[in-house]
């Protein structure tokens, strides 16, 4: 591999650790799923109960470490950009290989899934009959495969990056004339994107007031997608104050006061609560009102933050970009 920077090595080594833990958790989960019987008083059941603590600890460890590691991963991509000709930020690195974009998507999805698992576990432990145990381990088995896919893709991505091949930088990637997947949305006129964005928030809010968890969740899915598109197509240009600069990664750099972290943080947390509420409610029938509340709060934060940039720009300069 020609890309052996210390940061990449660190990420891969941690991946090895994660895989080991994930596999242990996987096999224990299978065993638990097969033999679990809450009503049983056999010694097998007691040892399963003990093992379920181990699985839970391992999964919690993975989740709470994956969170900061994701940020570190983005950081590392930004650094790797320095050795790849043409790439000026993480966006170039992500697009240097066919895997890059998928690694990102998988990492995000897995963060959501792990988070939901931790919530499930929390509800499970609250009731003396551990009603969701079997369920949560089945859920983990599903997550496991997605997690393995993520690791495999990550390794392939890092091995495939060839420092001798010139890649496009974010300037061209997110240009409307390029033919990448994202660009097909970017050609839409701004008023459509913006009405979709604000519209989906309003719809989501209506479902929130109606306490319809299912519709609220689906609305969150839309909101997440549209929010990201709107960010790339429209709002990011107001952060950079440049109509042609659409890069979603440069927002995370110090030049822009790391505002990207606030954007993404609020959006991901908000939609996590929104989408997660449905899963939790569906699987456990627990009350998820607090989830809805947090979701709306964070999603609103995001909306206000990105809108502020555009509005302040307009107020200062009298024109839209």
């Amino acid at each position: 591999m020609s890309l052996m920077t210390p940061d990449v090595i660190a990420l891969l080594m941690l991946d090895v650790l994660f895989v080991c833990f994930a596999i242990i958790a996987f096999f224990l989960s299978l065993r638990i799923i097969k033999h679990w019987d809450s009503d049983s008083t056999s010694s097998l059941q007691y040892s399963l109960e003990k093992q379920s603590y181990l699985v839970a600890t391992l999964i919690k460890y993975l989740f709470f470490l994956k969170l900061p590691l994701f940020i570190y991963f983005v950081f590392t991509l930004d650094l790797v950009a320095l050795v790849i000709p043409g790439a000026m930020c993480a966006a170039g690195v992500v697009n240097a290989t066919s895997y890059g974009f998928n690694v990102f998507i998988f990492k995000l999805i897995n963060l959501y899934l792990f988070g939901i698992w931790v919530a499930l576990h929390h509800y499970d432990m609250k009731r003396p009959d551990y009603p969701y145990s079997r369920l949560k381990f089945i859920f983990y088995v599903l997550i496991f495969f997605l997690f393995m896919a993520e690791v495999v893709l990550e390794v392939m991505m890092f091995s495939a990056i060839d420092p001798h091949v010139i890649v496009s930088c974010c300037g061209t990637l997110f240009d409307a004339i390029e033919t990448s997947t994202v660009s097909s949305f970017l050609v839409l006129p701004h008023w459509i994107i913006l009405s979709g964005f604000y519209g989906s928030f309003i719809i989501m809010f209506i479902f929130y007031r109606l306490k319809n968890v299912f519709a609220f969740s689906i609305a969150n899915l839309f909101y997440l997608t549209i929010a990201l598109i709107a960010l790339i197509a429209f709002f990011s240009t107001y952060v950079y104050e440049l109509p042609t600069h659409n890069c979603p990664f440069c927002l995370l750099q110090s030049d822009y006061y790391f505002i990207g972290y606030l954007f993404y943080g609020s959006l991901f947390v908000g939609t996590f609560f929104g989408i997660g509420s449905l899963v939790v409610h569906f699987l456990t029938k627990e009350k998820v009102e607090s989830w809805l509340n947090w979701s709306v709060l964070f999603n609103l934060c995001y909306l206000i933050l990105v809108s502020l940039y555009a509005i302040i720009f307009y107020l200062r300069n009298g024109v839209w970009l």
Partner: protein, 222 residues
């Protein structure tokens, strides 16, 4: 209200050293009763106490306390039950020798994330009650048998449990301290707590303030 329904406890089941500690024991205890469990060592009385405290699980049968199936509770619930409802005075005291008196006494309260001031209040109250306050900062390993027992009792009572279990409480005590212990039991009874004492010390037999005596022999009630 403690209900013990057809409890059996077999150690090392299906192995060469299999031992039947309890066999088909059934017992009903009303709130506020003082029960003396009589029997020689090996008769199963200690095992019965541990089952009531949900420290171990029965091989067969159930223990139901205040309508909760304590014998079937998973760990985090049985721990909470022990913490809040049971005060167990062990035969060997089971204090942590490297900790001081004060530290030992507050250990049941630590996981609950209670305000340190409240913990201090409760600790001091119970240490005063059993006259061990003056040795608050002494390591338990440096105390006499009687002092250690007072610490063990303090710890058992710090959470004001409804049920007190004592396993051979007077085994290491002289006559004077035994008297003290009896007085303590009497006071607990007056406070309306349910008390079960497993003992073969005759001083407990025919006590006027005890409600019942239950005799165990070879794992069964006689």
């Amino acid at each position: 209200m403690i209900e013990i329904k057809k409890i059996s406890k077999i150690f090392h089941q299906h192995q060469a050293n299999e031992m039947v500690a309890l066999k088909d024991v059934s017992l009903s205890i009303q709130p506020g009763e003082l029960i003396i469990l009589k029997g020689a060592s090996g008769s199963g009385k200690s095992t019965l106490l541990t089952l009531i405290a949900a420290l171990s699980k029965p091989t067969k049968g159930e223990v139901i306390v205040n309508e909760k199936r304590v014998s079937k509770m998973p760990d985090n619930f049985s721990a909470l039950y022990r913490r809040e409802q049971i005060g167990f005075v062990f035969q060997k005291f089971n204090l942590i020798p490297s900790l001081t008196v004060y530290e030992n006494v507050i250990t049941p309260l630590l996981p609950a994330d209670i305000d340190p001031h409240l913990i201090d209040e409760k600790a001091c109250q119970v240490l005063e009650q059993f006259s061990i306050m003056h040795k608050k900062n002494v390591k338990v390993a440096n105390l006499s048998g009687g002092e250690q027992q007072r610490v063990a009792i303090s710890r058992a009572l710090i959470n004001s449990p409804a049920i007190i279990l004592a396993d051979e409480p007077t085994a290491n005590l002289d006559a004077f301290l035994t008297e003290n212990f009896l007085a303590f039991i009497q006071q607990m009874k007056a406070e309306g707590r349910t008390i079960i004492i497993a003992t073969h010390d005759p001083v407990f037999f025919d006590l006027d303030f005890a409600d019942r005596e239950v005799a165990l022999k070879n794992g069964q009630i006689t």
